[in-house]
Symmetry: C2
Subunit: 242 residues, 2 copies
C-alpha cells in the first residue's frame, strides 16, 4: 500500500442560488426556500446510473470545497458555532480547509429531470455553492445513517429568525425578479438574512452595508439592531468565482 | 472548471478483524463484537488535528474501496438486499464499484490512543476491511445527519441470528486464541456467521465448506440447514490482499 494519491473525477456540478460562501446557512433545514440542481456530466449523464434513486427522499452528495481548496488545509479551526473563540482539530469539524477537501451533505431529493442528454437531480435545502464539483451521490439509508441518539457537537441553533424588512425599491425589484424568472427570492432573502449570515466579528456593528449574492442578484442590506433592512438589489455576475 | 481529476492523499489506514469482503455484515450494528482501529499516517498523526473529537460518540469515515477499485465501476448493480434479482443504478446503491470508489461509514468512536508517534482511533461496529485507506474523518452531527424520517431503501433486516455451534476442536482453538491475544473471537464468529454471510446464490446449499478470515485465523464452517457449524480454525496470512 503506497501513499500515492487517489485520483477522482468530477461526476456532476451543482447549480444553486448560493453564489458566495458568505450567506450559506450554517445548518441545514432552515433555508427551505433554497433550491438547487445537481447536473450529471458526461459520461455520467445516463439515466440507468440512477435507476431506483427516485425511491429515496434524501441523498448524500460528496463534493469538493472548490472555492477554498487552493488555500490548503489547517490543523485547527475556530468553528463559527463556537463564536470563533475555541480551536478544534480539523478532523473534529466539518471545516472546508481539510487535508482532502471533501464535503458531505445530505439533501432532499425533490425530483429527477432527464432529456436532451441532460440528467438533473432537483434538490431542496442544500447548502452547496453554485459551481460545486460533485464526486459521488449515494442514497441516504435511514437504518444505517440515522443515529438520532449520537452524541456530540452542538445543539441545533435556536430557530428564531430575525425580522427582515425591505425598502420600497428593493421590494419592487424583488417582485419584478420573481415574476420574470419564476424563482422564489423574497422568502429566500428572509430566510438567508433571518439566520444572520455575518461572521462573529461583524455581528456587533449596525448600519454596516453588506452584500449577499443569491442567484444573479447582489442583495444589499444592513443590520438595524434587532432586524435587517434590505436596501437594494444589484446585478451580480459572479464570474470571479470560477 | 475543468474535468481534470482531483487528487487525494491517504490520511489513515484501518486495522480490523475483517480480512476479506466475504463475511462483512450487510448492515451496521449487528456485529457488536467487531473492533477496529483507524491509524492516522504521517503527517496526519498529530494530536491537535483531532482536538475535540473525543466529544463525539460517532464519526464519519471516508475511505477507498481498495480491494475492488481496480475492477472499475458498473452502471448498474444487483444489491444483495434484493436477493440479487433486481438491477439498480450505481448512484442508487452503496456498491463498491462506483465511478469514484469512495466509501462512507458511520462508526462508533470508543477511544483515542496516542504516543510514540502513533495516533489511533478505537472504533466499534465498523464494517471496514483490514487495510482500508482512509481519506477523511468528520464528526457525526445528529442535528444535521440524523434523519430518521427519511424514506427509501430497505427496512432493517430481521435481527434473528442463526445458531452457531462449534466442534470441540474449534472451540479449544478459539479459547486458546482469546487467551493468547486478548481478542474477542467466539462472539465475533457467532455474530458474523449468525447473520449468514453467504451470497444469495450459495444460501440453498448445506454441508458446503466455507472459510471466513477474521483477524489472522481462517474460520472453517458449514451450513447445517437451520444452523452453522464451526469445524476448525486455520492460520490465515492474508498477505494476498495488499
Amino acid at each position: 500500500m503506497s501513499n500515492s494519491p487517489f485520483q477522482f473525477e468530477q461526476v456532476g456540478i451543482i447549480h444553486s442560488c448560493y453564489r458566495q460562501k458568505f450567506g450559506i446557512p450554517r445548518q441545514p433545514g432552515i433555508v427551505t426556500a433554497a433550491e438547487s440542481e445537481l447536473e450529471f456530466l458526461p459520461p455520467y449523464n445516463q439515466e440507468n446510473l440512477i435507476r431506483g434513486l427516485e425511491g429515496f427522499s434524501h441523498i448524500w452528495v460528496h463534493f469538493i470545497f472548490h472555492q477554498t481548496m487552493d488555500e490548503g488545509w489547517r490543523p485547527t479551526i475556530r468553528p463559527p458555532r463556537l463564536d470563533g473563540k475555541k480551536r478544534m482539530g480539523v478532523f473534529a469539524t466539518r471545516s472546508t480547509h481539510r487535508p482532502n477537501p471533501i464535503g458531505l451533505s445530505v439533501v432532499k431529493l425533490k425530483g429527477i429531470e432527464s432529456g436532451n442528454g441532460k440528467l438533473i437531480l432537483k434538490l431542496a435545502e442544500a447548502d452547496l455553492l453554485d459551481g460545486t464539483p460533485v464526486i459521488d451521490v449515494k442514497p441516504y439509508l435511514p437504518y444505517a445513517d440515522a443515529l438520532p441518539e449520537a452524541k456530540g457537537g452542538f445543539a441545533p441553533l435556536p430557530s428564531v429568525m430575525a425580522e427582515v424588512e425591505f425598502s420600497e425599491q428593493a421590494m419592487d425589484k424583488c417582485l419584478a425578479y420573481e415574476s420574470k424568472t419564476g424563482r422564489t427570492l423574497i422568502t429566500l432573502i428572509r430566510q438567508v438574512l433571518g439566520q444572520d449570515p455575518r461572521p462573529a466579528y461583524l455581528r456587533e456593528s449596525t448600519h454596516r452595508r453588506h452584500g449577499s449574492a443569491l442567484w444573479d442578484v447582489n442583495v444589499v442590506w444592513e443590520s438595524r439592531g434587532d432586524h435587517f433592512l434590505v436596501m437594494d438589489l444589484e446585478p451580480y455576475s459572479g464570474t470571479d468565482r470560477y
